[in-house]
Amino acid sequence: MSTEQLIAPAPSALVKGPWRPPSHRHLHGSDLRWALAFAAPYAAVFVALVVYPFGYALWMARTPSLYADLISDRLYLSTIINTLFFVGLGVNVKMFLALLLSGFFLRPRWWIRALLPVYVLPWALAAAQACISFHWMLIGEQGLVDGLLSALFGIDGPLWFNDPWLGMGSNTIAYLWKWMPFWTLIFLAARMTIPRNIYDAAEVDGATGIRCFVHVTFPLLANLYLICTLLSVLWTLGDFTTVFLVSGGGPAGSTEVLATLGFHYAFDFGRPALGVATVLSALPVLIPIIIVLMRRFHTSGVQV
């Protein structure tokens, strides 16, 4: 999604067994008609605004020559590498740090409790506005970061957006800043549902600190962690705002990701079909992840 969600999906992970739907009784007559009428608006939205646009996209990108154009385009290859960097590094670092930080925020200290709302603030901020602040902050020697570097340490900071790697790094940092709090909250909420007596038992057996995390917390959260990571990969693949507004794809298109390159092809270079082909070339990665996710959703249960 263009903005990662306020609240993540529903990975049923901990403690309770898989939920079974109440036994179906067959609906009859007017009841059935009512039920269908209730579900109709959603079905209409799904068909008209998901199936149709998606089919339209496939139809637009049906010509094989488009893909030949893509592969011969110098920008496309660097875009693939950038996307892998952004998604691979961004999602994994984000998830891992979020998992660790959720443990930190669980510590019973008043100042840690007070810190939590401040830490969550970036997530509550509108994405575009936050990304623009990052853009100005890293704009070079006029930006706050380089200004602080020279004021505090006397170093001349780099021109962040003049180098592809620094540019991609800036995008990733902005992305981490914006989205890490949300996943920390998810893991924090999950950790709070782990029954206290499991830790007590582990303590009796002599497990402390890191071993407790490795042998108790992590196995319990592993399923949730996997689902969150996969979902986050999908959303990050589609993250347009961060790259578009932080580095803007520059210099000379060297920090584009698939979502922004597709946008530029479609709306700046007047080649909409090529733009669609660009984003659809991620489907071979997208589809397996979606399949795994859907299976996990239905079979996940607790591993206590």
């Binding site: 209730f38 605004l49 100005w136």
Partner: protein, 297 residues
């Protein structure tokens, strides 16, 4: 001798534990400080630019605080004097219109559909849940070009309803998922006994389902509103400069680097305040739903 060892060992152990505890405290204080700076630096940067008296000034002059902070930026926004923000309140109104209608429609469509599936036990209801899941997993930005074409074809280009339609589409899947999870907590016997007493499905929906689902509906409403509020891409593509939203004005970043950035940042700050207030006001509901989601109810 053996006595001395017996006494010394626990003492050494206790001292080791004490030292470890002190180190942990110092470590977490350092981490807390890092997190504080990390979280606040970009926000501080926004304030710094917004409070700068000089228009278009984004420079950091080495002062940790603007020497003469001024509210000119904010005043320019509120009185609509800044370039690109001449119609700020109309832009704000457009954003609000999109947000509120996305919210209402998402709550309505989502609650009706999940009522049919989870309360009326519509057979093949899992199909509907699966389509929701599928939509949830598709990155919205990937569909922007077809949306642009389709909205043009329907004559909805540059119409706020085009953006609302897109936002509702991407918000309802979450609504259905969380409403289904929450509905499990409410006994189905309530519905059944109401039906025995002669209530129609519509009455059950209005009198039993909606009132009992309020906490989940609040979360869905906030979610939908924030999704629309956070959107940049769909508004920038589906609307023209005649129908600007606040989100879109920020796109001037590329068109005009010399815009009055103190006013632009002031507008950004004004724009981000409502969601923060909303999340703060309903933090209990949000926290409860996070717990529910992470544990699968």
């Amino acid at each position: 001798m053996s006595l001395a060892v017996d006494v010394a060992k626990p003492m050494r152990l206790a001292r080791g534990r004490h030292r470890r505890r002190v180190l942990t405290e110092i470590g977490s204080a350092a981490l807390g400080l890092i997190l504080l700076i990390w979280s606040l630096l970009p926000i501080y940067n926004m304030l710094l630019i917004a409070l700068d008296p000089e228009e278009g000034e984004i420079e950091f002059a080495g002062n940790l605080w603007t020497p003469a902070p001024s509210l000119d930026g904010f005043v320019d926004v509120i009185t609509q004097k800044a370039r690109y923000l001449e119609d700020f309140w109309q832009q704000f109104g457009n954003s609000l219109f999109i947000g509120l209608l996305t919210m209402v429609l998402t709550v309505l469509i989502g609650s009706l559909a999940s009522f049919a599936v989870s309360r009326m036990r519509l057979s093949k209801g899992s199909l509907l849940t699966n389509t929701a899941l599928l939509t949830y997993a598709i990155p919205a930005s990937f569909l922007i070009v077809p949306y642009y074409r389709i909205m043009h074809a329907y004559g909805l280009y540059d119409n706020l309803w085009a953006v609302i339609a897109a936002q509702v589409t991407f918000a309802t899947p979450f609504a259905i998922l969380i409403l289904q999870l929450y509905a499990r907590l409410i006994s189905l016997e309530l519905d059944d006994s109401a039906r025995v007493d002669g209530a129609s499905p519509v009455q059950v929906y209005l009198r039993i389902y909606l009132p009992l689902m309020v906490p989940a509906l609040v979360v869905v409403a906030i979610y939908a509103l924030l999704l629309a509020w956070n959107d940049y891409l769909y508004q920038a593509v589906l609307l023209s400069p005649h129908n600007m939203t606040v989100s879109m004005t920020q796109g001037q970043l590329f068109a005009d680097v010399d815009a009055e950035w103190n006013a632009m940042m002031a507008a950004a700050i004004i724009y981000t305040l409502p969601p923060i207030a909303l999340l703060f006001a309903f933090r209990r509901y949000v926290a409860a739903s996070l717990t529910m989601l992470s544990s699968g109810a």
